[in-house]
């Protein structure tokens, strides 16, 4: 039960999609309690695209789970504007349902009336450019198509915040590039807020309005960058590369500290 996740109703006007305040999380480890996240404070504004960047052990996936309400913080509070939807590195589509029915299940659980579901599912498939794939089984789709159906399913939840946990990490580079373009387009079209976790610096810069760098063990916010390069960007663009180099330097500095300890 996610007691710390207060659900703000639509009547209450909220100026955030997610508000993370002084959140810490520790787990029972082999050598006593291990602090994974230390005093994280972060806002995601409505319609904003934020990437969380960090090396292994920075607790970025843990933080996403907390925001998703799948786990509770040890201290601090997390508020979200409605229940966020979550997309994983693995597509997590249900293999017993077709692509269309996967989306319809999300619509059904979200309380969409039976008669409207089919049409809405087709609309969402069109949004991710998979019109005509309604009856396809999950195993008949390629990796990139699966992630697009997963994205459509996440959007079907009509949440104002989309959490993405390294959703493109398992894809080949060509497909990943294309999905970056698609995600940027869909984000602009839907106005959904995105909190996107990655360990890929260029991906973070390519996509985000704001890049948040987490340090490792425990995860703390090390630095933030506002990315003012206009969209649509390309991952090869010079300004993207420039900022990526700066961020990478900082990231490597964070990692080096662990070697010196």
């Amino acid at each position: 039960m996610a007691t710390a996740v207060a659900k703000a109703g639509p009547a209450e006007s909220v100026e955030y999609a997610a508000r993370i305040e002084h959140v810490s999380k520790s787990f029972a480890g082999p050598v006593g309690r291990q602090l994974v996240l230390d005093d994280i404070t972060l806002d995601v504004a409505p319609g904003e695209f934020v990437t969380l960047l960090g090396a292994s052990g920075c607790g970025k996936s843990t933080l996403l789970n907390l925001v998703a309400g799948l786990d509770d913080p040890s201290s601090g509070s997390i508020k979200t504007d409605g229940r966020p939807s979550l997309m994983f590195q693995e597509h997590a589509l249900f293999p017993w349902l077709t692509a269309g029915k996967n989306i319809e299940l999300a619509l059904k659980l979200g309380g969409v009336a039976k008669n409207d579901r089919r049409e809405r599912a087709e609309e969402l498939l069109t949004l991710v450019r998979l019109q005509g794939s309604y009856d396809k089984r999950v195993h008949e789709l390629s990796g990139g198509m699966r992630q697009r159906v997963a994205l459509a399913r996440a959007l079907a939840q009509e949440s104002r915040l989309l959490l993405m946990d390294e959703p493109f990490a398992a894809l080949d580079a060509i497909t990943r590039d294309v999905l970056h373009d698609e995600l940027t387009r869909i984000w602009a079209e839907t106005g959904v807020s995105v909190l996107f976790v990655t360990h890929n610096v260029r991906e973070a810069v390519r996509l985000a309005q704001r890049v948040v760098l987490l340090s490792s063990r425990p995860g703390r916010i090390a630095r933030e960058w506002t990315v003012e390069i206009p969209q649509p960007r390309r991952i090869e663009d010079a300004p993207v590369a420039e900022l990526s180099i700066e961020i990478t330097e900082q990231l490597r500095g964070e990692i080096r500290r662990h070697g010196q300890q």
Binding site: R83, P84, F88, P95, W96, G110, H139, S142, V178, E236
Partner: protein, 306 residues
């Protein structure tokens, strides 16, 4: 990098941006087409040669060897090994007397009814064992242990409890099949990938909704395997019960036919009964469970073509 004399647009950054949307659409369609796996169904002639012909040949070989044992006087005592012809005559006589289908139906009716009962009891039992920790700790080990207990062991107590009647047969079937079905469901549920549960929870599928929309469909392959095994156990239990507890009031099923054969020292009748028992077991598996299992596995892309 960008050359202006190329019309491809892919290398021209500016152009790619101006109509980037269209470009992406085309690019994506191309990627999808490249990665599309064509799924074709195997033609019947291939299936026939790969799947149907081998068992037919094996059966033919067994019949040939059997006949050879008689023809070349390896086995001379017909009370030990009747000839295939004698057994065929036994079948023919039973058919002409109109009894053959009666034997089969008496047993199949009991078997199916018992199996359906076992299904109705085993399914909720499996759900509870899988989902409630205390119940699992309490009866989980016993439930899997029961699978290794030969169901024939239940016949003597069942006869004493219920007498020589149909209820006793059903009791033996249930004791044999319920643990298999429940265990199948438990292992099916245990094997549901945690990712599906997490995905379900973020979509609001918790509690009963989660069980209905995520856990049950995800565990279907394991459950079906349990059902298949449950049927095998039902059938075996029933035969054990019919052999031991034959009584004229119960009608002659296949187990009773076997027992009658023994009493009459009629090897052809015994062979007839054994063949029928085997035939029903295989037929139900081939006509009901295998197609069901294949259908489920194929729709999930879990059926690997060999």
């Amino acid at each position: 990098m960008a050359s202006s004399d190329t019309k491809s647009g892919l290398t021209d950054t500016r152009q790619a941006r101006s109509d980037g949307n269209l470009q992406t659409a085309g690019l994506e369609a191309g990627l999808d087409a490249l990665e599309n796996v064509a799924t074709t169904r195997t033609p019947f002639s291939v299936t026939f040669r790969a799947k149907i012909l081998p068992p037919l040949i094996a059966t033919g070989v067994v019949l040939l060897v059997w006949q050879a044992l008689i023809t070349f006087n390896v086995v001379t005592d017909p009370t030990k090994l009747p000839s295939p012809g004698d057994v065929a005559t036994e079948f023919k006589d039973a058919w002409l007397e109109g009894k053959l289908l009666g034997y089969i139906w008496t047993s199949v009716e009991r078997g199916l009814l018992g199996f359906l009962l076992a299904l109705a009891i085993g399914t909720p039992l499996g759900l509870i064992v899988a989902r409630v920790k205390f119940v699992r700790a309490a009866i989980g080990p016993v439930l899997s242990g029961l699978q290794s207990l030969p169901s024939v062991a239940w016949v003597p107590p069942a006869v004493l409890w219920l007498g020589l009647n149909n209820s006793m047969m059903y009791a033996v079937i249930l004791l044999g099949a319920v643990p298999s079905i429940a265990n199948g469901l438990v292992s099916g549920i245990d094997q549901v990938p945690p990712l599906f549960l997490r995905a379900g929870r973020t979509m609001g599928a918790t509690g009963w909704k989660g069980a209905w929309h995520i856990v049950l469909p995800a565990s279907l392959p394991g459950y079906l395997a349990g059902l298949k095994q449950g049927w095998a156990f039902s059938w075996r239990s029933l035969m054990a019960a019919e052999i031991i507890a034959s009584s004229p009031d119960l009608g002659i099923g296949l187990g009773a036919l076997l027992e009658n054969g023994r009493n009459a020292s009629s090897m052809p009748m015994i062979f007839e009964a054994i063949f029928l028992i085997l035939f029903v077991g295989i037929a139900v598996d081939l006509l009901v469970f295998s197609p069901l299992e294949r259908r489920v596995l194929r729709s999930r892309g879990l059926l690997v073509k060999s």
